[in-house]
Amino acid sequence: MEKARPLWANPLQFVFACISYAVGLGNVWRFPYLCQMYGGGSFLVPYIIMLIVEGMPLLYLELAVGQRMRQGSIGAFRTISPYLSGVGVASVVVSFFLSMYYNVINAWAFWYLFHSFQDPLPWSVCPLNGNRTGYDEECEKASSTQYFWYRKTLNISPSIQENGSVQWELALCLLLAWLVVYLCILRGTESTGKVVYFTASLPYCVLIIYLVRGLTLHGATNGLMYMFTPKMEQLANPKAWINGATQIFFSLGLGFGSLIAFASYNEPSSNCQKHAIIVSLINSSTSIFASIVTFSIYGFKATFNYENCLRKVSLLLTNTFDLEDGFLTASNLEQVKGYLASAYPSKYSELFPHIRNCSLESELDTAVQGTGLAFIVYTEAIKNMEVSQLWSVLYFFMLLMLGIGSMLGNTAAILTPLTDSKIISSYLPKEAISGLVCLVSCAIGMVFTTEAGNYWFDIFNDYAATLSLLLIVLVETIAVCYVYGLRRFESDLKAMTGRALSWYWKVMWAGVSPLLIVSLLIFYLSDYILTGTLKYQAWEASQGQLVTKDYPAYALAAIGLLVAASTMCIPLVALGTFVLHRLKRGDAAPVA
């Protein structure tokens, strides 16, 4: 008798697992950036349209495939067509790449979390230089938060060629991150199902706390007004639409096989249409919610820096012209400057290059995304709040929950096909398989803890998943609609869930979504080809800022290998299956 497939204890666990997987760091650090770059409030228009046209249909498709086939991605696509099981293999390869580098973010979050229990916060003050007369040079040129990130956390080398050694502190944090992930996936859905209650709900608690705190900060309204005023002309910019589409696509985590894996543990009769709509709506509203928090923090930081700048200019003028202390304020600064320029022209012109024009807009305009936003901009804002240790602990705890939630989905995508396969699961119990996967990923992940590790992280982040996922989802959609047959799938779903498939989904699956994905693919490829050599940002310690450098040849080869490793699986497995079938037919022919 076959062992019953493990199931989610209740449908709520499944929904929470999907939410916990889809709502990740991208909602917090990529969506606010896109909103800012592409016209603030008006970016919501392409975003919501893409959600309805691309996000919901593709999400529903993946959940339906998983629930119908009741197997991981490899098995599911083998059932659709043996030639297409390469799609499943490609999903597993991409998930494996993702889990290797994604857990490093959790390691960084752990590092910052552990360092938040100090007074003062270590990234709020610069360390002293050798003879204790001033601050460390690199820290002076950059800021204390940048110094803590680039020097103390990453200990980054000036270029990708200089590998450096493994940073033991970061390696320990990475080990801990993998142990925590192992703890959560150890027992399969039994343990994952309970953990996702926390990883899905706790980030919302922290976001609400931060929303209340953020809106009451001085200068928060500046940020909110600046970011959300719609700039309607951006709607005509094709990049806004393309970025809306890609953000929806990657934010929902389509194509990794995690959604198929999660849905395969569902009761066959559960209403996956409702679940798909709920999950995608919650994911998008979390993005918008997180960007409100981020913009109020931006506004606070920009106002703080602006007032600091004004104070510095006033101090400079007061000292040079020996004015009375406290005479210069923000309101009379301009007229006093005018008076001084006319009264002491020579002295003023000497001073002029040192007087920066303080502008609130230029402070607000600094658009940052990714690790820069999470670990530099946010920490800079946090260090200026009262009781900064509490806010810091809450914030990094939230980042951890988001990261671990996404890791659970990634590892499920890898483990479900492995535990489904009869060969492997007969030799090893599922605890051992999970342990082995975590061990291998952790060992390879040590590369990202070396001094040049952050550069390799950027390579993986930018290239490991982007192109391959688009191709995987395209082949998935075509496989279900045209190879398996849309009518056959429709009748399967009706038999399974008892609900008829609406015409809207049929139109989207068969026509609109594949077209959208093809156009995204064309855009990405043309973008890569047009930019020529790929460049990266390297941290220059002597200048205290980022400089652009070219990738060396072996890094470009690694990028090519990353993309090829996953995309080539599809044709290679198809070819292999074809060859095997021919061989089998060749053997069978003489018997018949």
């Binding site: 003050v125 360390p127 150890l186 027992r187």
Partner: protein, 222 residues
């Protein structure tokens, strides 16, 4: 005569204490920034206190124990509040070398700051860099302690889960063999009639077949 002497003294003082003079230092105070509403006004009494503090610092230098308050000269007091000062020797003709004054002020910077309720940023001696206090470094960094705690908790949890998983699996493996043993026992006791084993009633939760009622109940009672 007295007026001539006074004139001479001020003339000499004017020479010794000048902005940019040799061995002269500029001092800048930001009282209102530091104290806000509680700021005091800078007047000659405060200047006297300042001279006293500088003289006190110089007296701590070996060979300069005889420095008096009158040896410290202040000039060019502005509204900022900023001024220049020099320290002269006992003859009042020469100024003490800048290096000595600098090291003396650096040694006693804290006392001077406290006398005026200011700090290194609000009471500035230009060209005398202050020694910054290094942050207190605990012997074991705090983050390692927290890391160790969480690490141990996670390891213990993993071990517990793995052990309970192994125990569950062992129990599951034993159950089918236990059921097998019971069936063997049954088979030994099963009576065989026509090659068909009869299940004895005591090993299976027997149901009483109502068709086979007892003898006396078949007959209706009288």
């Amino acid at each position: 005569m007295l007026r001539l002497l006074f004139f001479l003294v001020t003339a000499i003082h004017a020479e010794l204490c000048q902005p940019g003079a040799e061995n002269a230092f500029k001092v800048r105070l930001s009282i209102r920034t530091a104290l806000g509403d509680k700021a005091y006004a800078w007047d000659t009494n405060e200047e006297y206190l300042f001279k006293a503090m500088v003289a006190f610092s110089m007296r701590k230098v070996p060979n300069r124990e005889a420095t008096e308050i009158s040896h410290v000269l202040l000039c060019n007091v502005t509204q900022r509040v900023s001024f220049w000062f020099v320290v002269t020797d006992s003859s009042k003709n020469h100024t003490l070398p800048a290096v000595e004054v600098q090291s003396a002020i650096r040694m006693n910077r804290n006392r001077i700051n406290n006398a005026f309720s200011l700090n290194d940023q609000t009471l500035e001696f230009l060209k005398i860099p202050s020694t910054l206090a290094p942050p207190t470094d605990p012997s074991v960094p705090i983050w390692i302690i927290i890391f160790g705690v969480i690490f141990c908790i996670v390891i213990v949890a993993i071990t517990l889960l793995i052990l309970s998983g192994i125990r569950q699996r062992r129990r599951k493996n034993k159950e089918p063999s236990e059921v097998d043993d019971a069936e063997d026992k049954c088979e030994n006791m099963i009576t065989i009639e026509n090659g068909i084993p009869c299940d004895p009633l005591d090993t299976k939760g027997g149901h009483i077949n109502d068709a086979f009622m007892t003898e006396d109940e078949r007959l209706t009672p009288l």
